[in-house]
Amino acid sequence: MRKLDYAGAIREATTQEMERDSRVFVYGIGVPTWSSIFGTTKGIPEKFGKERCFDTPISEDAMTGFGLGAAIRGLRPIHVHIRVDFMILATNQLINMVSNYTYSTGGKLKVPLVVRAVIGRGWGQGAQHSKALFSNFTHIPGLKVIAPTTPSDMKGMMIAAIRDDNPVICFEHRWLYWAEEDVPEEPYEIPLGVGRILRPGKDVTVVGLSWMNVEARLAADILAKRGVSVEIVDPRTLAPLDENLIVESVKRTGRCIIADCDWVDSGFSAELSARINEKCFGKLKAPVKRIGFAQTPAPTVRELENEFYPNAKTIVHAVEDMLGLEAANLDGEDFFSHERRFRGPF
């Protein structure tokens, strides 16, 4: 098997599906241009032509309705947003239209639409280029929401999303694009709604969302040196959620930390915490702990960014707190930053 990065996994999934099904097309601001959305659409316009891979006006609202119209009349669009912050302009269509036309037509209309959104911290991205906003979309019935972490998950889940007859929003953390691992060359589907245990452990469950699984993995390595065994659960699909996988893990470990790359207040971590409390009440040895952004707009300057964004250190300290351990000195540890890219493997 050859290695492929996360961006390559998206590109390969898209290309293979476009080869298999002439109804699939990909569009959005900057999609066919040289920068090609972090390389995720590189080579696609040359291979499939302008009718199946095209740029759009900066009209997120209309171009989302456009995707809905194309989807309900027989095509299978993939709409790409270079930042989730810009996708907010599309929420009128996503929330008022895309999510509810299957339901309000008594199940007659199918909406095979994939909406890709780049999320997350980059390099001084500030308040308008850095959000995740998972819960804004998981809140809405009728939308499927995925946030794959690994390249192999991304390829299989992107193919499943394209083949799905329902709207699927795919969140892609920009720091994951460089991550590499062995990815099968042939097309394959990973069913939506099925989570994954990224690392088995017995003392504490960390439910990681998107990039935070990378941070959780590093935290788990650091903690393992002290004899603490961390289980990392990646929901992969946020809606519909594989609740059982998470619940079973927390029942085994009795402890749960939710590591999100989003705000904590009314965030997806609140939903997870509520469900875990409902389902694991008698089994919990400690209250569920949530980790996420500081409840402020994202700052730009690096020193404040480091306070704003949680990372492996935050997770290590949360585990220490939960287990009643002394805080370790982490000075010798190697943490990620934009300049020191994570390339995998997981």
Binding site: R23, F25, E51, T56, P57, S59, D61, A62, M63, T64, G65, F66, G67, L68, G69, A70, A71, I72, R73, G74, L75, P77, N92, Q93, N96, M97, Y101, T102, Y103, S104, T105, G106, G107, K108, L109, K110, V111, P141, G142, K144, D165, N166
Partner: protein, 330 residues
């Protein structure tokens, strides 16, 4: 201006009359029976404006993909003539277009070319552009038509959609049912441009203004606009002046609101009501009064039969609440 091409063939005049009559009488039924509180869905009545949808949909002869606003009744009936599913949906029955989950604002019969109606102003407009793209890619030969009010032209997405349709060379037929008001706010309070057509033209659409109030004019206009849109691979914008006879939402009149003058509306619109004009045209085609009455009676009977079927159809069982959130393969 008027686009009427006198005379249209007798069969067309009859077809337009019947379609107008169907929409009008269906809504008159709603007005009469709404107070029974069995049609529990907010009604944005088309009454007075039906000639716009009837003219356009009739011109497309079933080959339209129709997208409508919450003022959906005339658009739905002009395209589908399906009073069974129409009334079933209003009565909230499993036999309705959305098994009662849609209601008046979400009428949809995609298999009959009425793709969807939407309750948020202007949201249906870009959907029509995407449908036109699908129709081109899949070579269906269908024409994407979107109906909206002049209030929707206040919305950014309207301009985005016109621009995108022109940019992508898509023959979308944008039909503005220009009744002059967003609820009771007049167009002058919302738009600087004196003429919507003049504002739209530089975006790359062919524009047409129709203030005839006449279904045959709209029919002829639509024929011309659709043919040109396909030939030149350009969108068309049809601004058709019309008058909503009833209140914005509901079955009553709104003369007491004070934003428009009853006598003026009656003089300028109701006195030359499109249905009345079309009925008079039948006589010019030597259709006898008894033949007209027979047509009307047939439609009335069809409406009554649909209402009866609807009221006897099952109400969705509670378990249907959770069904259909996601599409399931049959």
């Amino acid at each position: 201006m008027s686009f009427a091409r006198e005379p249209l063939p007798k069969a067309t005049t009859i077809k337009l009359f019947k379609s107008l009559f169907l929409a009008r009488r269906s809504e008159e039924y709603i007005v009469k029976h709404y107070a029974e509180n069995l049609m529990r869905t907010p009604m944005h009545m088309s009454m007075g404006q039906e000639f716009v949808c009837v003219g356009v949909c009739s011109a497309l002869e079933g080959k339209a993909d129709v997208f409508a606003s919450y003022r959906s009744h005339a658009a739905f009936l002009a395209q589908t003539h399906d009073t069974d599913r129409f009334f079933s949906e209003l009565y909230g029955r499993t036999s309705g277009t959305g098994e009662g989950k849609g209601g008046s604002m979400h009428l949809a019969a995609p298999d009959q070319g009425h793709i969807l109606s939407s309750g948020v102003v202007a949201t249906q407009i870009p959907v029509a552009v995407g449908a036109a793209f699908a129709n081109r890619q899949l070579k269906t030969g269908r024409t994407s038509v979107v109906f909206f009010g002049d209030g929707a032209a206040d919305a950014g997405v309207f301009w985005e959609s016109i621009n995108a349709a022109a940019l992508f060379k898509l023959p979308v037929i944008f039909v503005c049912e220009d009744n002059g008001y967003a609820v009771d706010t007049p167009r002058e309070a919302r738009q600087v441009s004196k003429s919507l057509s003049d504002a739209v033209k530089p975006f790359g659409a062919d524009t047409y203004e129709d203030d005839s109030g006449d279904v045959e004019s709209v029919y002829s206009l639509a024929k011309e606009a659709v043919a040109k849109a396909h030939r030149d691979r350009r969108p068309a914008f049809l601004n058709v002046k019309c008058c909503r006879y009833l209140e914005h939402v509901g079955i009553g009149t709104d003369w007491n609101w004070g934003y428009r003058d009853q006598a003026t509306v009656e003089r300028e619109w109701i006195d030359r009501d499109a249905l009345k004009v079309q009925r008079a045209r039948l006589a010019k085609h030597q259709v006898t009064e008894s033949a007209i009455a027979a047509m009307e009676d047939e439609i009335d009977k069809a409406i009554q039969a649909s209402v009866k079927r609807a009221s006897q159809a099952p109400i969705p069982t509670p378990d249907r609440l959770h069904a259909g959130v996601f599409y399931e393969k049959a």
